[in-house]
């Protein structure tokens, strides 16, 4: 799920940036530092949409670096248990398959793949129904439901299922 929230961060800036463009430097550094990172609490920071305020800088002893408290708005993506996501399959093996929904990695184990789909090994390992009409392989797009998340301080990993109504392949890369 996406959220638009306000976060705060203490930015350290090298003294060489002090000047007219201090603010721009600060913001571009913020984007570089924050976008694409993941915090267990808020999820993945997708994009910074605005800076609310930049507080007074504090010179650090010894280094000359200055710390600015910056409040910024950003869009974050945080997967939840029970959420339905569309994801791209990145790897298929005998134990199940891995998929990505944006920055999130999801593993679907083989017992959460419908029973009528069988694993086929080979160059392009895949799960296929007995009549061959549905196939899951690398680059397939699937709709899945998240049934578990592991949230570490800097990482979120999910496991999902496609063994439920309206879940499974939503397009087949071989037919494009």
């Amino acid at each position: 799920m996406f959220f638009h929230i306000v976060l705060e961060r203490n930015m350290q800036l090298h003294p060489r940036h002090f000047g007219r463009n201090l603010r721009e430097h600060l913001i571009s550094k913020l984007m570089k530092d924050v976008e694409g990172t993941c915090s267990g609490r808020h999820g993945f920071v997708v994009a910074i949409t605005g800076v609310e305020s930049i507080g007074k800088g504090l010179i650090r002893d010894g280094t000359g670096f200055v710390t600015f408290p910056v409040k910024y708005q950003c869009v974050v993506f945080r997967p939840f248990k029970g959420e339905i996501l569309e994801a791209v399959v990145t790897m298929v093996n005998k134990m199940g398959f891995f998929a990505e929904a944006g920055p999130v990695q999801i593993f679907v184990s083989n017992h959460l793949i419908p029973d009528d789909m069988e694993f086929q090994s080979g160059d392009m390992p895949n799960y296929t129904t007995s009549d061959g009409s549905v196939k899951i392989q690398k680059d397939s797009e699937v709709r899945l439901k998240i049934i578990g998340t592991r949230v570490d301080a800097t990482e979120i990993f999910c496991i999902g299922t496609i063994k439920d109504d309206f879940l499974g392949v939503i397009n087949d890369p071989t037919t494009i």
């Binding site: 248990k81 005998k94 959460l112 592991r150 063994k163």
Partner: protein, 473 residues
Amino acid sequence: MSVEPFNRLVKLTARAFYDDITTKGDNQPKTGRSDNRGIAVVVLDALTRRQWVREEDLAKDLKLHSKQLRRTLRFFEEEKLVTRDHRKETAKGAKIYSAAVAATTEGPPFGKEGEEKIKLHTHSYCCLDYAQIYDVVRYRIHRMKKKLKDELESKNTVQEYICPNCGRRYNALDALRLVSLEDEYFHCENCNGELVAESDKLAAQEAGDGDDNARRRRREKLKDMLQKMEVQLKPLMEQLNRVKDLSAPEFGSLQAWEARASAAGRAVNGDSSSNDPSKSSQGYGGTPMPFLGDTKVEVAFAGAEGKEVDVKSETGNASLKVLPPWMIKQGMNLTKEQRGEVKQESKMDGSSAAAPSGFSDDKKSNVEDDKKSLQDEYVKAYYAALLKKQQELEEAAKQQESSNTAVSDGLSGMSNRQVGMKSKREDDEGDDDVDWEEAPVAGNTSESFKVNDLNVEAAASPEDEDDIDWEEG
């Protein structure tokens, strides 16, 4: 627009899901006296015999404290079974409503209006929302089933893996760390052994047996629960099916209903504002809510023989006239038992002799059979309870006759919730000749209906709506 199938749906729902509900604050001591289980059923039943009803009137009719009733109704509002409406009104407004009631239900006389005239009060009204009840019940059953099935099929469980070499365990959340680039299996971080999914045979053997047993037991329990649910909710589900293609009774908003009802009443009865008390005492034939009660039922409880007979015939007639077959049966059943207080032994034999057929295979899809076994069991339980409790009840009865207002409290105060007791309590409602419909309740309770289990699920469901996580539980 037929109300009856929907009323039956409500009654079955009440007994299946709300039989055990208590509606009281947590801060109140859970003494026997404040134990008001069963009230939910009584209130729902009473509502099936009414349309829009002023909550004070309902409380009066049920001899409940209005606070207690309000708490119950609020609960049902949250459960989406009941719609409520509140408005400030003068005596005039109250009159409009009373007139409307008189026109549609010919309910208990509203001659007392005089007392309630003066003040401007907020009055609350309530009414069953049949269409929504249908949806809510279906949804509830669906969720119950899905939850059990999902767990049974371990749909939403996290797959576990185990290393056959060193016994180290992993689960699917570790998957990223376990993939190997060489082959298609997961490998142990420790010894690089090939991991096996825990449900596979090898893993089952290597893993602790105790854990496995626990899992098996859990599965058994789930299966059992699912099966019991199928069996015990069968009448409810069949009723849902029956109701499926009928259009639900729709009373509209309070205002609309009032307008409609009083207009119709005027057309039929002439001036509806002339609240002739005698009107309320005559039969209910042709009115939309045919069961609106006769106050005579109270006496059945008092145990006065002559009056009992009186009531019996009353109920018999009423049910024969309007009830669908299944209800007639129960009505007769009860009639029998009321009549048979003297020679109950023979009666009991008769019914238990009939029992085994309907009893041994109560899973038969035939409703009648189901009903029959329920009835038989009810009769048995009823007599058992009756014998046991007769003394107490008679005493209680005497007390209650002397102080008729505290009736329901006094009864619920008696700690033991015997079947007999319950029927007494319902009789107590006063305005309802509900004898016939008690059979299902009694059947359920005596059959150790798994309401408890169901309620566990049920209790979870309201939160569930807000909480995404719930079904993974």
